[in-house]
């Protein structure tokens, strides 16, 4: 199976985004390309500052005012989202692409009853009347595993726990019936049991609604359990993209290898990789070629100058490295 021949739901091609830095603009997304196909869960992993969230904000058209798209294309089906006006984007948002945010409680309006917030979505997206929308909202909340949804729908966000708020938010986004749901670290600040429940919920929803999900996370365990494919990012560049099985069995990029070896496991003694002293993010961002070069154990001279091409290393396995063999 060759990926590129299939029709992608979301295709990002050579995306460049820059932000003003201390003295020059910093390219925060550097030639980012990946695809999300229909009905699949794709994990987007990387450490803080690797550009995961920035990628999702760019897809949604939520790039902060200081950010600038320097090049590239974002195809959603046959539409080029970067050409869309704000008004056209507002029709794509919700109906086609919805997003679950990192900060759970603040993503709900503190002055509105949660049931009304969900009902509002049914009114906007499906054109339902007030009464019908309210009934649908209660149903949606109970589908999210909220017990006693009828009563909880009348509560304000501050009266609910964080886990409950996240369920309400997911109910809001699912109510749109989007083709693509972007979940940006949907479980930050939740405790582990609730995290597991939320991921189960997301998986069930994906089964039920046939939507694709782009799951942004730094938790490799979650990726292994939830996703079908993974995109690994570092310092604004895509390092590797593969199916979960292939990536965990045979990571090719030196960065992915180190990332996987950083996961603590009981059956393995800890070998802390030597901390790369004196290497800040700034160094990585100033490299013209592969941004992992300053920390790479297998770095070649050309890695500093030349951005490696995306190479197919196996079925459904792509790597961006000069020296992965």
């Amino acid at each position: 199976m060759i990926l590129v021949e299939k029709d992608a739901l979301l295709r990002i091609e050579g995306l460049y985004v820059s932000f003003p830095g201390a003295d020059a603009r910093v390219t925060i997304l550097d030639n980012v390309s990946f695809e999300v196909f229909g009905k699949e869960i794709v994990g987007l992993v990387g450490e803080s500052g690797s550009g995961k969230t920035m990628t999702s904000l760019t897809i949604m058209g939520f790039l902060p005012a200081s950010g600038r798209i320097e090049g590239g294309e974002i195809w959603f089906g046959h539409d080029q989202l970067l050409d869309y006006t704000e008004e056209e984007m507002s029709r794509v948002r919700g109906r086609k692409i919805a997003m679950i945010f990192q900060s759970t409680r603040s993503a709900l309006n503190p002055l509105m009853r949660v049931g009304d917030q969900v009902a509002r979505v049914y009114r906007i997206q499906r054109g339902l009347g007030a009464g019908q929308a309210k009934a649908e909202a209660v149903k949606a909340l109970s589908r999210m595993g909220i017990p006693d949804a009828e009563r909880r729908a009348k509560a304000y966000p501050h009266q609910l726990s964080r886990g409950m708020c996240q369920r309400v938010l997911i109910a809001m986004m699912v109510a749109c019936e989007p083709d693509l749901l972007i979940a940006d670290e949907p479980t930050t600040g939740l405790d582990v049991t609730i995290q597991a429940q939320i991921f189960e919920l997301i998986k069930d929803l994906q089964q039920a609604t046939k939507a694709s999900i782009l799951l942004i996370t730094h938790d490799l365990g979650v990726v292994a359990e939830t996703c079908e494919r993974v995109v690994v990012m570092y310092a604004g560049q895509v390092m590797e993209m593969a199916t979960v099985e292939s990536l965990f069995a045979k990571p090719l990029h030196p960065y992915t290898q180190r990332l996987l070896s950083s996961v603590l496991r009981v059956d393995r003694t800890i070998e802390m990789p030597a901390v790369d002293a004196g290497l800040s993010e700034d160094v990585a961002y100033s490299v013209a070629g592969c941004r992992f070069a300053p920390r790479c154990p297998r770095v070649l001279p050309r890695c500093w100058e030349e951005h490696p091409p995306r190479e197919q290393a196996g079925p459904d396995h792509w790597v961006t490295c000069h020296n992965y063999k």
Partner: protein, 283 residues
Amino acid sequence: MASAAQRLRGFLRLLREHRTLAAGLLILTVVILAATVGPAFVPHGPLKVDPEIKLQPPSLAHPMGTDNFGRDILVRVLYGIRLDLRIAFMVAFTALIVGTLVGTFSGYRGGIIDDVVMRFTDVLQAFPSFVLAMAITAMLGNTIPNVVIAIAISYVPFFIRLTRGEVLSARELGYAEAARCVGNPEWRIMYLHLLPNCLTPALVQATLCLGWAILDASGLAFLGLGVRPPTPEGGVLVGEGALFIISGQWWTSVFPGAVIVLMAFGFNLIGDSLRDITAQEER
């Protein structure tokens, strides 16, 4: 849900904890009560002239004395409170509505619109608000609606800035983006999601403005730029009486003046304590 009894108990506890709030509310309750039912107990009209009893010192029949036309000052003061309160509420309401609407729009949109609005408020704020109000009434002509408009314009910048600042920080919070994400149109995000959440400082400011508006309206009238005699209004009364202070008839100005001060003081006490209360909640 809190029952009515619980709410009342909560309110009483609030009053106990914030004595200044209680004092302000007490002052204004007395003043408003006097202005609404007071005139019914006074057997004189506010405009009734009686040359026989002109410039009488306070007595049982005329507790605040009479002026140079023999009009009862107490009843004129009571009617004056009515007018001043009406002007103050209209000013605060107008400035609050206009300021919060514009402030929300400016803060949400940002960019050039925001710059233009901000520079406009800079220009308005470059003038002392009273001088600005003077200029506007002088330009528009001194009728009561014009006095309201003039004072309201001079207060609008405060509301724009306060709301804009709140919107700027609330915009990044998530619920605005989440609302955008599910396809809410922009006006709905601004005025149904952001504005209600950014209203608290503007409401506190509105309470403070009630006090200032009374002072400004009286000030304008005193200078002959606002409400005109013989309409009973605080500033008009002080102005009329000012001529006679030198000749020893102190009651003509002192009583109306004291009532103006009392009203402004009451609103300021309430506004200040509301500010403390809301600031505490934010912590």
